[in-house]
């Protein structure tokens, strides 16, 4: 039976289940008809069956289903613990190419992307942090290729990625948003060096990527030459969406039956101290208030009016995370000098205190978030923009340029 957007939920359910029964060994977690599990082969099967990106058009490996219908397939795969579904929700590279790439590009790379390679997103640079459009990585045309030189930073998954979606400047005489091109850039080539960043949390989630005379074909431009900023907006929006989903699922504090700050205060013998109690109460309250705001946002989103509320959560989370971690540190007393596995309370307090900067700096600092809330939600006027309409080569990156 062919599944289309006119199929009933039951038909979809039956079709995907039947397919999985026939092709996937749920117990062994391998394909039924394979000697050993080769990821690319299995993913190819999934793509060809249409389960990989069911919401896409049939021209590009999809079934043209709506969101609800797609979720049925995703759930079935989850139940069978089979990989490869919902790439139309989670594969940043494939989604971006599908949404903004040319037909030629889509035909050339989409299937490859869906059946394996991880795609990272190469946008931040040492001099383009809060000012994301201040890209200085340089792309110079050379026949059918572009030659890339520059440095990217804060790149997730750069070690594993076969492709990077790369922002590079192709016109230095246009204002900053208008001279940027977006490339699907092969990472596994000479001239691409990836170095993990040691974070203050002890983690290394991000990388620096140094690019020296590396090449990318003009055919791999996503969108159009010098129109990369617009194409990039799609990618970044999906990245945030995917990240946001991760964060929500990560940790559920605010469990009604216990609270770590109450436990720490109790252990420190300070649970009767009214000052400590006020601080704990307010810390717990900030988290609960944010949750209530988010609940209200979701309800209002359904009615199409919740954008302004949604925009508050990231900023609010900075106060919550920094505040809880600071209070936990304080409650440790002298134990705050210690760290490491042997002292889990101290380790958690230090880790959380450092990790809080991930929210207050990463993905747009608190300062940028406040600008956005003030301008986009409250309608306060923008600051006069200093680099607006200025050819990018004249925009300063340091005082010495004066």
């Amino acid at each position: 039976m062919t599944i289309t957007k006119h199929s009933s939920d039951t038909e979809i359910q039956q079709a995907v289940t039947a397919w999985l029964e026939a092709n996937w060994d749920q117990a062994e977690r391998v394909p039924r008809q394979a000697d050993k599990y080769i990821e690319r082969e299995w993913l190819t099967q999934v793509v060809e069956a249409g389960w990989s990106v069911p919401s896409w058009s049939s021209e590009y490996y999809g079934l043209g289903l709506n969101g609800r219908q797609s979720r049925i397939i995703e759930s079935a795969f989850k139940e069978y613990r089979a990989p490869g579904a919902a790439r139309d929700r989670y594969h940043l590279g494939a989604i971006t190419v599908y949404k903004v790439g040319s037909d030629t590009l889509k035909r050339a790379v989409l299937k490859e992307l869906l059946t394996g390679p991880i795609c990272c997103l190469l946008y931040s640079e040492p001099n383009a942090g809060s000012d994301l459009a201040g890209v200085r990585t340089r792309a110079v045309q050379d026949g059918n290729d572009y030659i890339i030189n520059g440095q990217k930073v804060w790149t997730s998954n750069a070690m594993e990625a076969e492709y990077g979606m790369l922002l590079a400047r192709t016109d230095w005489d246009a204002p900053k948003h208008q001279g940027i091109t977006f490339f699907l850039f092969p990472m596994r080539q000479p001239g691409v060096e990836v170095r993990p960043i040691n974070q203050i949390t002890g983690e290394s989630e991000f990388n620096e990527v140094f690019i020296t005379d590396a090449r990318v074909s003009a055919a791999n431009i996503i969108g159009e030459v010098n129109q990369g900023w617009k194409a990039f907006q799609t990618a970044i929006a999906y990245e945030r969406l995917i990240m946001g989903q991760g964060v929500t699922a990560r940790r559920q504090k605010g469990n009604p039956t216990s609270h770590p700050l109450i436990r720490l205060a109790d252990r420190a013998g300070k649970l009767a101290d009214s000052h400590v109690r006020q601080k704990i109460a307010q810390a717990i309250a900030y988290r609960e208030l944010n949750k209530l705001n988010n609940d209200r946002a979701k309800a209002e989103m359904a009615a199409g009016t919740g954008f302004s509320l949604m925009s508050l959560s990231k900023l609010a989370m900075s106060r919550i995370q920094h505040g809880e971690a600071a209070l936990a540190t304080e409650l440790l007393g002298v134990e705050a000098l210690l760290d490491g596995e042997q002292y889990p309370d101290a380790r958690n307090a230090h880790f959380d205190s450092a990790k809080a900067y991930m929210n207050s700096i990463g993905g747009g600092t608190d300062q940028i978030q406040r600008n956005i809330i003030a301008e986009k939600v409250l309608g306060l006027p923008k600051e006069p923009e200093h680099d607006k309409g200025v050819p990018f080569r004249e925009v300063r990156i340091r005082a010495i340029d004066e």
């Binding site: 109450i262 705001n293 609010a316 300062q367 600008n371 309608g379």
Partner: protein, 366 residues
């Protein structure tokens, strides 16, 4: 529980908002305390016509049977105007306390309250009284007369009826006295010109002793009063916040609107987070009250301190952000600021509510 649908509530809210926008002058607060007159009878009558006074009355009593969510929606609107109105007595607490009283001697009064003909003040030391007089003494004699005095009675200056909640040995009695039976009523000078207080003296005053209310009704009356104050706070905070945002767009200095300066923007953004948080806390508490009135202590406490702190903060920053103009009495900012300072002292203070909030977390963990 509420008998109104969300749509009904929102359309009710819109009516009230439109009406108040057209008829309730913020400036009415200024003249209110200068004359020894009660609330504007015309405004009262119009609100009765809008059905506002029917809202909280039970359906048995011919009211709309509204719940906390309905009440809160209306009071957010009333809070935004500052217009002097007998909110806590007539609109919230008395209807709730009377909802289950079927005493014929009271029914007539209830109708007067609901028709706006009579205003009612809340006095005594019971928890449902917004400004309780913890030191008060009261004697109810064998002739059914009351003797005693109580200070700082909200609306006591001119209310037609006084509802007294007197708690002693963990038992609470309710008495209803007519204004004419007061032996003395002394108006006190207040910081907020829209909130008037009096100390009242009774000397063998005839009264109606109401049937003893249940603990549940008493505690829920307190909770409704507290929610009402939180709603007034959110309404007031939102109104002065919006006034301020408009000013930041209109006011130019250095050739730019002052709202384009980043530091000003950031203050605004932070205040907006607080405002929306308070709104969420308020509405969630009201919802919780409507769905599980005996299990809303945590929500209520959260709403109480959050709404109180936020109105204080926003009203204070509003003056700063306006600059010199708000340092003048002509500007409305200080009126909101005074209201915030006064409401913060009703039904206990923020730190107390925060303490209670934490206790609910500890209890849950046990």
């Amino acid at each position: 529980m509420s008998n109104l649908s969300t749509e009904d509530r929102e359309s009710f809210r819109d009516n009230v908002r439109r009406f108040l926008g057209a008829h309730a002058e913020i400036s009415s607060v200024r003249s209110f305390s200068e004359h020894d007159r009660p609330y504007d009878p015309e405004l009262l009558r119009s609100l009765v016509e809008l059905g506002l006074f029917e809202l909280m009355a039970s359906e048995q009593q011919g009211g709309l049977g509204g719940g906390a969510q309905d009440m809160v929606a209306m009071l957010e609107e009333l809070g935004s105007t500052l217009a002097p109105l007998p909110v806590l007595g007539n609109l919230v607490v008395a209807p709730f306390l009377f909802a289950q009283v079927e005493e014929p001697s009271v029914s007539a009064k209830v109708n007067q309250i609901r028709s706006g003909e009579a205003t009612i003040a809340l006095a005594g030391n019971a928890a449902f009284v917004p400004v309780p007089d913890v030191n008060m003494q009261l004697e109810y004699d064998s002739n059914c007369r009351l003797t005693g005095c109580m200070s700082m009675v909200l609306d006591g200056v001119y209310a037609d009826l006084i509802l007294i909640g007197f708690e002693k040995d963990e038992s609470t009695d309710l008495y209803l006295v007519e204004k004419g039976h007061l032996s003395q009523c002394e108006a006190l000078s207040t910081n907020d010109p829209g909130l008037r207080l009096a100390s009242l003296h009774f000397d063998r005053a005839p009264c109606i002793k109401l049937p003893k209310p249940s603990e549940l009704i008493l505690s829920q009356s307190h909770d409704m009063g507290l929610l009402a104050v939180a709603a007034l706070q959110v309404g007031g905070a939102r109104a002065i916040f919006e006034t301020t945002m408009q000013y930041l767009k209109d006011r130019y200095q250095f050739g730019r609107p002052i709202g384009s300066f980043q530091a000003v923007k950031h203050i605004a953004a932070d205040l907006f987070v607080e405002l929306e948080s308070a709104t969420s806390a308020l509405r969630s508490a009201a919802e919780q009250f409507d769905s599980a009135p005996s299990d809303c202590a945590r929500s209520l406490a959260l709403a109480a301190f959050t709404c109180s702190d936020v109105f204080m903060e926003i009203a204070a920053q509003a003056i700063q952000l306006h600059g010199g103009i708000a340092y003048t009495r002509e500007h409305c900012a200080h009126l909101y600021w005074r209201r915030a300072r006064s409401l913060a002292a009703m039904y206990g203070n923020s730190d107390g509510h925060r303490e209670r909030y934490l206790s609910t977390w500890e209890e849950a963990a046990q």
